[in-house]
Symmetry: C3
Subunit: 365 residues, 3 copies
């Protein structure tokens, strides 16, 4: 497993982890259980009892700690067994499960699989437009049987809109447009512009643009390791300045389930001041995008993975095109960070083989 | 494969192998065919023709020998080809399939995967309460996608009744009770007692105990390598001597299908002198237990196996509790016996990968 | 992978590759796409875009070249990218997919996975009776989860008719008959004769023979590497010369999908001069054979493969019978040719793991 360990990953949307009900998800090749303690704080533990490896997620939350469904041992936020119901009730010192730093932000529960001492909240990139304190949000989830970097490629090169999503997101103006990219430290940005474009009805309607109107459209993508993207789509009347246009920001968070499968979380948010319109628009965006994401991107990503097989991406000698510049920048950042982590002797915790979830599933707030 | 080879294993219940019909089952990673010869003796052979590896179990029993479905070669109890229908009918000396010592006892067909010269009937542990000559019996079968030793753990530590089977078998009195264990040579025994217990209706009714009666319950488990257990549950009015109580003995036989899947055979028996009541009670026990076994134990065992993955049990550093003493004793005996067998140069026959049977199946007499 | 590379293999029946529609099939462990160019010539390429490994077979045929469904790159018969729709449209020199020599003959599209310089049409064996220019043909396809050499064994030793197909193709006369085999260079022939046979109704009716007639039947099998067989079944009244009889020729072409799965193509053909009767008879043969092939041969081949597992055929020490002579000759030829190819340093192209197609499928013209 060659994952970046010292990084924040999304483990679940906040609404997926309900009070009193443990939630299980495989993350970076590990079974993880999420639950809320007595203060409703999100706790992340290995989903594997220290005693006989039973999945703690099938147990109960009792007084803010997790009770194993097999023999009733209980584990708290520190991972230490805090209750042995049998005999004299003594608890062996070794009865401890691994715990992960976790925090809740932007409508999601984040976890840190690496060194807990380095888990600094300040390292979390900013996604203010999906902060539920100030914004109305809506989100979607897709399970993808493909390496998370293939999804990052997809989001960092939106030229595929024209070919993979010709009926919803793309148009012939995209190939005619221009694209730039760069690094800001470990951040990668890609800025794509299309000019004098006739939008597909799905996009036009989302922006409230009358059919047939010619527009300029820009798509600003920001990627932060390990796979945290924001995409801002902007539209203005053709030839008009950007300031006269409208924007739709969204978050796209990639968390590897295994080396070959990925949890894809995405969310749209608009300011609460927009009122009911914000509610309608974020729902419109998520619900409308789910179809091309699920029926066009997902099969493509999975077909790529099948064609990649066990081979290393670079060993396949992919042809490099100018449109790939941003995606290649991101791959290079990840390769550098992972290599540095390995050189520093970071050792991943013992992992177990995860059988990927069958079929694609979907969770919408 | 790290199986103990010089040992008796249950291959099938007697009623599963009907006259004239070959029966196929994977045992210890090998495909085995069972059939009855002209004298109705159970014969166990590799389920793989010596000629082109066709499954003999798909052929016919002809004159007490097995005919291959592909080219009609016939094989007898010795494993030697006894008939070649083609050309001059000569049989090459090498046309021989492996045969296994087999015997029929306690309503089951047993086979010996190791050195045939060491297959001594006297090594079979005693299960007199399921001897069909003297007892009325009923049996059940479950296919489990977990290592057989996880099932042995389960049966040797019945403290899980309280947590995994709270509605049928367990109660809060169990954790309050006491437990002892020990070795008698290679045999491991565990004796658990619960005092002043209010039984769940399923158990109380089986013993004919009026609702609400307080009882003392004891559970005596005897384990013999490689995974042959008897469990005697006894109940008496709270504070009364055991001699005044009732007992229900049962047999539990674990046969590995592969390193990660297990055939679980279990049976209840009561003396024929009990008449119709014995019939009713053994059916009541098997039919009633099938639900917690299938819906509670089986998913737990399979979840443990998924969490164990390819890792060695000890490499996972399981926390050890006093309740585990018996199960650990049995693991230690198995480890010692397998190591001794390997040291003695026992070489398992060439095995082939077995695709475990899909789904759990069930066979009840 | 131990395939013979410098050889013609059937990739598809001609009718499977329709104008304008790419066709995908895994061949020798590789994903291959077949399509027809502007002149309707069959083109065979790796089904994996040079850019990001997308399956080209999910794209469109545009002006006789294949357009990738993901980013719109186009690839022609040479494998070279001929169109990049993005930016300045320049095409990197390395944007090239592997192409395979292909030709169309005998109602099938053939491809050559080895050195293109050695792909000589003259190396294709002759199957004149399924030449669509002169013959009426009908064909069938089965996907088999077994090594292709197990299928060759099956076709080279028709003694199995008597045991595996007793109700359609076999009779007790076959074991009583005689069989000869030999080599002609790399070609292997097997000639089997049965005398004074009462044919099963399916065979008798196909030859127009009244029920109960005693016949002599001969079955001439010719095998050419890598797995291209013709089988001519002939029938004459018992004791009459062959010249007085009727024959039914058929082609049987085996193409490995993976080391453990095989594409089985078969076809019957009769001269166009026979008119409507030819149409009826070739349909009768294919449709009638599909049932024993699918319900009897296919499960047997797949069971053999399961019993063979990862083991080498010879390591399993199969008993050798006189009926095996032809099949063993063919195995020896293949072993010699593959060893020679390896000794000559032939290096297979990078392959990727193919997930075999689920279930058996069937394509009939």
């Amino acid at each position: 497993m060659s994952f970046l360990l010292n990084a924040w990953y999304v483990a679940a949307f906040s609404h997926e982890v309900r009070p009193g009900t443990p939630f299980s998800r495989a993350l970076l090749g590990r079974p993880v259980v999420l639950y809320r303690d007595a203060e409703q704080r999100a706790i992340a533990l290995d989903d594997r009892c220290a005693h006989r490896f039973a999945p703690l997620s099938q147990g109960r939350v009792v007084d803010g700690v997790l009770e194993c469904p097999y023999h009733g041992l209980r584990f708290g936020a520190s991972g230490q067994c805090v209750h042995n119901p049998h005999g004299d009730g003594r608890v062996p010192a070794g009865a401890k499960v691994r715990t992960y730093p976790a925090l809740e932000r932007y409508g999601a529960i984040w976890f840190w699989p690496g060194d807990p001492l380095r888990a600094d909240e300040a390292l979390l990139p900013s996604f203010p437009f999906v902060d539920p304190a100030t914004h109305v949000t809506h989100d979607g989830y897709l399970h993808t049987r493909a390496h998370y970097q293939l999804s990052a490629d997809n989001l960092l090169d939106l030229s595929h809109f024209q070919f993979l999503h010709p009926d919803t997101l793309g148009s012939e103006a995209i190939a005619r447009g221009d694209v730039q990219s760069g690094n800001l430290g470990d951040i990668v940005w890609v800025r794509r512009s299309a000019y004098d474009e006739a939008l597909q009805p799905f996009v036009a309607q989302g922006f409230g643009i009358p059919p047939g109107t010619r527009v300029d459209r820009w798509m600003d993508v920001r990627w932060t390791p390990p796979g945290l993207l924001s995409i801002v789509i902007g539209v203005t009347a053709a030839g008009m300045p950007r300031e006269a246009g409208l924007i739709a920001p969204s978050a796209h968070w990639l968390t590897p389930e295994t080396e070959r499968t990925t949890h894809y979380f995405f969310a749209f948010g608009l300011p609460k001041e927009m009122g009911e319109a914000a509610h309608e628009l974020v729902r419109y965006a998520v619900d409308g995008l789910m179809k091309p994401f699920e029926c066009e991107d997902l099969p493509m990503l999975e077909a790529q993975q099948r064609n990649l097989g066990d081979n290393d991406f670079w060993a396949m000698q992919p042809a490099l095109l100018p449109i790939d510049a941003g995606a290649i920048r991101a791959r290079r950042v990840m390769e550098r960070l992972i290599a540095a982590e390995r050189a520093a002797g970071e050792v991943p915790a013992r992992t177990i083989p995860i059988t990927p979830v069958a079929g694609a599933s979907r969770a919408v707030a």
